[in-house]
C-alpha cells in the first residue's frame, strides 16, 4: 500500500484539516488529537488546524493541570511551527462566545468567520474531527 502513497510531501501533498471541537482534560479528544497532528505533520502534508466550539479552550495559555494530576500539553502547541504547521484557524464566534481573545492563546492564530472556515473545509482532501 505504501508504494502508492506520497509520504514525502512535494507537489502531491494532500490537504488535511483537523477540526478540534473538544475542551482539554475533560475528555481525551483534544490531547490524543494533538498527538495525531504531530504524527501526520511528519508526513509533510498540507495541514490545517481548525479550532471551534469548546476546542478553542485547548489553546488557552494559562492552563496549569498540576492540581488535577493530568499531564498538561498546552506547551506542545508551540512545536507545531517547527513542523511547518502554521495554518491555525480559530472560529471567531466560538472564541467570542467563550470570552476569549487571541492574546489568550499559546500560539498565534488566524481568527476566521464561519464562512471562511466552511470554505477551508471544502477544499480539503480529508477532514479529521477530534
Amino acid at each position: 500500500m505504501s508504494d502508492e502513497m506520497d509520504n514525502g510531501g512535494g507537489e502531491n501533498r494532500k490537504k488535511i484539516a483537523f477540526v478540534m471541537r473538544h475542551a482539554p482534560h475533560g475528555s481525551i479528544y483534544s490531547y490524543e488529537g494533538l498527538e495525531t497532528v504531530l504524527i501526520v505533520a511528519a508526513y509533510e502534508q498540507d495541514l490545517s488546524l481548525i479550532f471551534a466550539g469548546d476546542g478553542v479552550f485547548a489553546l488557552v495559555a494559562a492552563q496549569d493541570t498540576s492540581a488535577v494530576g493530568i499531564k498538561g500539553f498546552i506547551k506542545t502547541y508551540r512545536v507545531l511551527d517547527g513542523y511547518d504547521v502554521n495554518k491555525i484557524y480559530v472560529d471567531r464566534e466560538s472564541m467570542e462566545k467563550r470570552g476569549l481573545k487571541p492574546e489568550d492563546f499559546i500560539i498565534p492564530v488566524e481568527v476566521k468567520e464561519a464562512e471562511e472556515i466552511a470554505a477551508i473545509m471544502e477544499e480539503q482532501h480529508a477532514t479529521i474531527p477530534y
Binding site: 502513497m5 495525531t36 504524527i39 480529508a126
Partner: protein
C-alpha cells in the same frame, strides 16, 4: 471508491461501532473498498478479546473479526491509545492488529473518503 473508516468510541458505551459496522457492510454491498478501519481514543476497546457480551445482544467483537478475518479488511488499533487502555498483542480479537498512527495518516492520504464515527 476507496473508503477509510476511523472509530473513536468503544463498543456498547456508544453506538459508534454499530454505525461504523452497518456503514461498512452497506459500502461493501455497493462495491466499495474499505482500505482500513482505524480505532483511536476508546475505539481501541473494540479489539479487546477478553469481553464476553451477553448472548441475547449483538457481539461487536465478532463483527470486527468477520470484517477482518473473513472479508480481509485491515483493522488496526492505535498502539499509543491501546497501551493507555490495556489493549495489547495476545489479547486482541482475530482479524485485527495493533499499529501506529502512521496507519491513520496513510489511510487519510490514500483513501478517496475518510469517515469518522465517534
Amino acid at each position: 471508491m476507496k473508503f477509510a473508516v476511523q472509530v473513536l468510541e468503544g463498543p456498547y458505551n456508544n453506538q459508534a461501532s454499530d454505525t461504523a459496522y452497518n456503514f461498512i457492510k452497506a459500502a461493501l454491498e455497493r462495491g466499495h473498498q474499505i482500505v482500513r478501519v482505524f480505532f483511536y481514543h476508546n475505539g481501541v476497546l473494540n479489539v479487546n478479546n477478553l469481553a464476553e457480551p451477553p448472548r441475547d445482544d449483538r457481539n461487536v467483537y465478532a463483527r470486527w473479526t468477520e470484517l477482518g478475518r473473513d472479508k480481509g479488511i485491515d483493522i488496526v488499533a492505535c498502539i499509543a491509545a491501546s497501551k493507555r487502555r490495556g489493549i495489547k498483542d495476545g489479547h486482541i480479537i482475530e482479524g485485527t492488529r495493533i499499529s501506529g498512527l502512521g496507519q491513520l495518516t496513510d489511510m487519510a492520504i490514500e483513501a478517496d473518503r475518510l469517515i469518522t464515527f465517534g
